[in-house]
């Protein structure tokens, strides 16, 4: 057996393999389609000839002497009785046939042209540029002459049928070109002409695309498997080779017996079919070769192509051990930093534990529990590195025999640290370290507050979990990628984890105005938090003490916290009345007591979360995590206390409101008609830089936009602040006032590319309207609300607008994905050095000070230079401009 020596690749050259080379690289000619003899030994010169490599353990390769696994395999060959076309080159053959003389095989260009093209090709090659454009032009030009300029032979049109049949049109009858005829023509092409069509005559003679010898892939790349019944099951490639060899033999017998031309041609076609499907079983126009079961065979091209193919699936594809994947579902009772792991996964995943004097008793306990008794052990590795599977029957015995220096694979249990990931992993928060909590059922569970960084929802999303295997990895995960270290986003220096949806609605309901809670109520509010002491009540009513909702929040704030800011519900009054704001929009925290203001999205929400941000920056990430946990628990308790539901009847508006809305819309339509009238009279004054037409459009859009907003205001007024949808929109929990407007007021103008809908028939959008109608309804204004229901034309316009939105998102995601890939590839190994410079791996300086200012955006205040402002604010407890 020979040992391979590592070599350096200097050059890769692509070309065609000549029949001579096929024979040279072959270790045997294959003449029989049989594989194994009755004793189960491979037959000489058969498809499993041991010279082509071995797959059975124990046998040795007859070429290199290697055992199964050592021998890389060696090619054999089949001598084809008649040449066949290589499907992969069918297109090239067509182009060459059409560009060369049918008699003398000269490329049908005059010598000056040839010289010109050759020169162009050579310069392009030198510059490393593609030559496709030039060769395509060569083929196009050489196709034109009807008579050969060298021998004077008339040229015929060549038709192509299906994948690899070429037919010459001879007057009224067609003459089929057999592969042998084609080969003869290709053989006659001169080396000079070959260069002009962009091929290299030394590496790729055109006739080599017609196969006369078929290489037989080594046995090692088409191993047969022995079924339990002792029956052998051959690889798809072997099946295909059997077909080829059988037909080849039949062909030979028939030809030697002098069979009629018709039979010969049929067999030739069949041989062509088998060779074609051997290369590619998905050629259009060729029925795929199938198994007896009806499953199409996986032949050469199918092994390489596509997502599961060799390139994307095996070479670029990376799969890892100690990982698990399943559907995710929410569990608000988990900590934000925890992940619920199904018991069945926990029992499969293991962590290596080295047996030491200190833990040997613990280890014994794990082993004693065995593999089926949750925190147990699955494997034991002795000091001689032999692995023993722990089973129900041997666990007692193994627990006794375990020694220092051994290693066991312990099952995953509560508190273990694992990595949790959701694709596409676009930023570093897409992989975070969580603590395991083993739970029943089959999904991963996570606190909904960690959904934003993963961009996860529960409509069937799946996520991956990776179990860390070394102490270093676990330590690193704890310190760098643990959830609490990633609450602040390096993108904008604010929290990316925080309350969502119900957390925010709950906090809002709890803290707005002066909500009061009895003792049992506030104790229930705080029961899920880590708070152990209740503050003094705010006062007494009828001899019973009460606490305010703001006090409930004060319990979970760290003592000593000072903050002042305007909440999201602030309406930017001219002079802020601060604590005395009638909207309760001025949040004031003094020494950890919420004195005024309503807690909503801006305080605890993901992406905003001013209080979360402040706590992390002043009290550290662990306190921040605890605050998020407490705040989300409190929020949920809050929303459960007040009760919260939402349905279609929440959009009910009183009759008077509907009348007001329809009046308002009627007036708007009148104004639009008026505008159109003025326009038609030619009296419309164009806006600066706009045509009259544009001005009209703009003014109509403006008018209708205003009308829609007004309907929203009317609807909002009648719905009132108690309405669930209003609560959600105002607090920032979900939805917006626009959504409400569209549900209760008026859906408004549907737009395509920011303009009213204009496409459709000539001069009108739909046949429901008059030609030239410029009115609101004819161009996509939807007067109705989602509640009242859309008219048929409105519905259609709405679908147009909706479709545009879908197309936009689809296009944007693919484009931004590609942009992200390119950026990451360009920047991935740049590193900020200890001296503040940014350098690549060669030590080349890219920036002399990271980001010009040397600031870590994660530690900045929402990416703004606000540190001093914050310090003043926390000392004075007043918002500073």
């Amino acid at each position: 057996m020979f040992k391979t020596v590592p070599k350096r690749i200097k050059e890769i050259r692509f070309g065609l393999i000549s029949p001579k080379e096929y024979r040279k690289m072959s270790v045997t000619r294959v003449i029989t389609a049989d594989t194994y003899d009755d004793d189960g030994f491979p037959i000489e010169m058969g498809l499993m000839d041991p010279r082509m490599g071995v797959i059975d353990p124990g046998l040795r390769c007859k070429t290199c002497g290697g055992r199964a696994g050592e021998c890389p395999g060696h090619f054999g060959h089949v001598e084809l009785i008649a040449p066949v076309i290589h499907v992969g080159f069918a297109k090239l053959i067509r182009k060459i046939l059409r560009a060369t003389c049918r008699e003398c095989s000269a490329l049908l260009l005059d010598s000056n042209q040839k010289k010109k093209y050759l020169e162009q090709i050579r310069t392009m090659r030198k510059m490393g540029q593609p030559i496709e454009d030039i060769t395509n032009e060569v083929f196009k030009e050489a196709r034109k002459p009807k008579i050969c300029m060298y021998c004077g032979a008339g040229q015929l049109d060549i038709k192509v049928e299906k994948p690899s049949t070429y037919v010459e049109k001879m007057g009224d009858h067609d003459h089929k070109l057999m592969p042998s005829d084609i080969r003869v023509r290709l053989e006659k092409i001169s080396n000079e002409d070959i260069e002009v069509i962009g091929m290299d005559p030394n590496n790729a003679r055109p006739e080599w695309v017609i196969l006369t010898v078929l290489p037989v892939p080594p046995v090692t790349m088409r191993p047969s498997i022995t079924l339990e019944s002792g029956q052998r099951s051959e690889d798809d490639l072997t099946h295909k080779l059997v077909d080829i060899i059988r037909i080849n033999q039949r062909f030979q017998e028939n030809r030697e017996a002098g069979a009629p031309q018709l039979i010969i041609e049929d067999l030739w076609e069949l041989l062509q079919y088998h060779v074609t499907t051997f290369m590619d079983n998905a050629v259009s126009g060729v029925p795929p070769a199938r198994h007896r079961s009806g499953r199409p065979l996986k032949t050469l091209s199918q092994r390489l192509k596509g997502k599961e193919g060799r390139f994307r699936g095996s070479l670029s594809g990376k799969r890892v051990n100690f990982s698990a994947r399943t559907v995710i579902s929410p569990d608000p009772n988990l900590s934000v930093s925890e992940v619920g792991v199904p018991l069945s996964i926990a029992m499969e995943m293991t962590i290596p534990v080295y047996v030491t004097k200190r833990n040997i008793e613990q280890v014994r306990e794990y082993i004693r529990r065995g593999p089926d008794n949750h925190p147990g052990a699955n494997y034991i590795e002795r000091s001689d590195r032999r692995r023993i599977k722990v089973t129900d029957s041997n666990c007692e015995e193994m627990a006794e025999t375990v020694e220092l220096g051994w290693k066991i694979d312990r099952q995953l249990k509560n508190g273990d640290i694992v990595l949790f990931n959701r694709q596409p992993s676009l930023h570093r928060m897409s992989i975070m370290a969580h603590n395991v909590k083993v739970l029943p059922h089959k999904t991963f569970r996570l606190n909904p507050a960690v959904c934003p960084p993963y961009n996860a929802d529960f409509d069937g999303d799946e996520m991956n979990m990776h179990v860390l295997q070394t102490e270093e990895a676990r330590a690193e995960a704890m310190m760098l990628i643990h959830v609490q270290e990633n609450i602040l986003s390096p993108r904008f220096g604010g929290p990316i984890i925080g309350g969502i949806h119900d957390h925010i609605s709950g906090m809002y309901l709890l803290t707005r105005g002066d909500s009061r809670l009895s003792k049992s109520e506030i104790l229930d509010m705080l029961s899920k938090t880590k708070i152990e002491e209740l503050s003094e009540p705010a006062g007494e009513v009828d001899g019973k003490p009460y606490w305010t909702g703001k006090q409930a929040v004060s319990h979970i704030l760290p003592s000593g916290l000072n903050m002042a800011y305007k909440a999201g519900i602030c309406e930017d009054c001219d002079t802020c009345k601060e604590e005395n704001c009638e909207l309760d929009a001025y949040v004031l925290v003094k020494d950890g007591q919420l004195l005024s203001g309503t807690i909503e999205e801006k305080a605890v929400g993901a992406f905003k979360g001013l209080i979360v941000d402040k706590i992390i920056k002043d009290y550290g990430s662990a306190r921040g995590l605890q605050f998020i946990n407490d705040a989300t628990m409190l929020g949920i308790k809050g929303i459960m206390h007040y009760g919260f539901s939402f349905g279609i009847s929440d959009e009910d508006i009183p009759n008077e409101a509907s009348i007001q809305i329809s009046e308002l819309l009627g007036e708007a339509e009148d104004r639009v008609m008026n505008l159109i009238l003025v326009y038609n009279e030619g009296n419309l004054e164009p806006l600066p830089g706009r045509t009259v037409d544009e001005t009209l459009e703009l003014k109509i859009m403006q008018e209708l936009g205003k009308a829609r907003d007004s309907t929203g205001n009317i609807a909002g007024k009648y719905l009132g602040l108690e309405n669930a949808a209003v609560v959600m929109a105002v607090s920032g929990a979900r939805g917006s006032m626009l959504n409400l407007t569209q549900m209760a007021g008026c859906v408004g103008q549907q737009a395509v590319r920011g303009e009213r809908i204009k496409r459709g028939y000539e001069g009108r959008t739909l046949s429901n309207f008059h030609t030239g109608d410029l009115g609101a309804a004819a161009h996509g204004f939807v007067k109705n609300s989602y509640k009242s229901g859309l008219s048929p034309t409105e519905y259609f316009f709405h679908a147009i607008g909706g479709r545009e939105g879908l197309v936009d998102t689809a296009v944007r995601t693919s484009q931004s994905g590609y942009l992200q890939r390119r950026l990451v590839n360009a920047l991935q190994d740049l590193e900020v050095q200890y001296d503040g410079t940014v350098r690549d791996t060669r030590g080349m300086v890219v920036q002399f000070r990271y980001g010009e200012d040397g600031i870590d955006p994660m530690k900045s205040e929402f990416s703004k230079p606000q540190a001093i402002k914050w310090i003043i604010e926390s000392v004075t407890s007043k918002e500073v401009e």
């Binding site: 510059m127 490393g128 060669r842 080349m844 300086v845 920036q847 010009e852 200012d853 040397g854």
Partner: protein
Amino acid sequence: MVGGSNPSEPVFYIFKGMNKVMKGTKSFSLLDHNIVPHHLLLSENEASQVLKKYNIDKEQLPKIKVKEPVILEIGGQVGDIVKIIRTSKTAGEAEFYRLVIE
């Protein structure tokens, strides 16, 4: 770019023959333009201090071509180091260095 082409030499069309055009007219300085950051040639001494400060060789610096209009303007030679002072939104002013190359 699909075929894996080599990036070609940048060409400064606007400034080709600029000197010819400018001859006889009152010349202006590129550096006066408000979006051209300030470029300074460093003396031998200053240059070595910069290299010492960042503990690097000249070659590890970012590069700038001699043919670049600003370098022509300040008369930089191959091997010189230029200091570039840019206005920065977050840092006020940011310093940057480049090695002049051919």
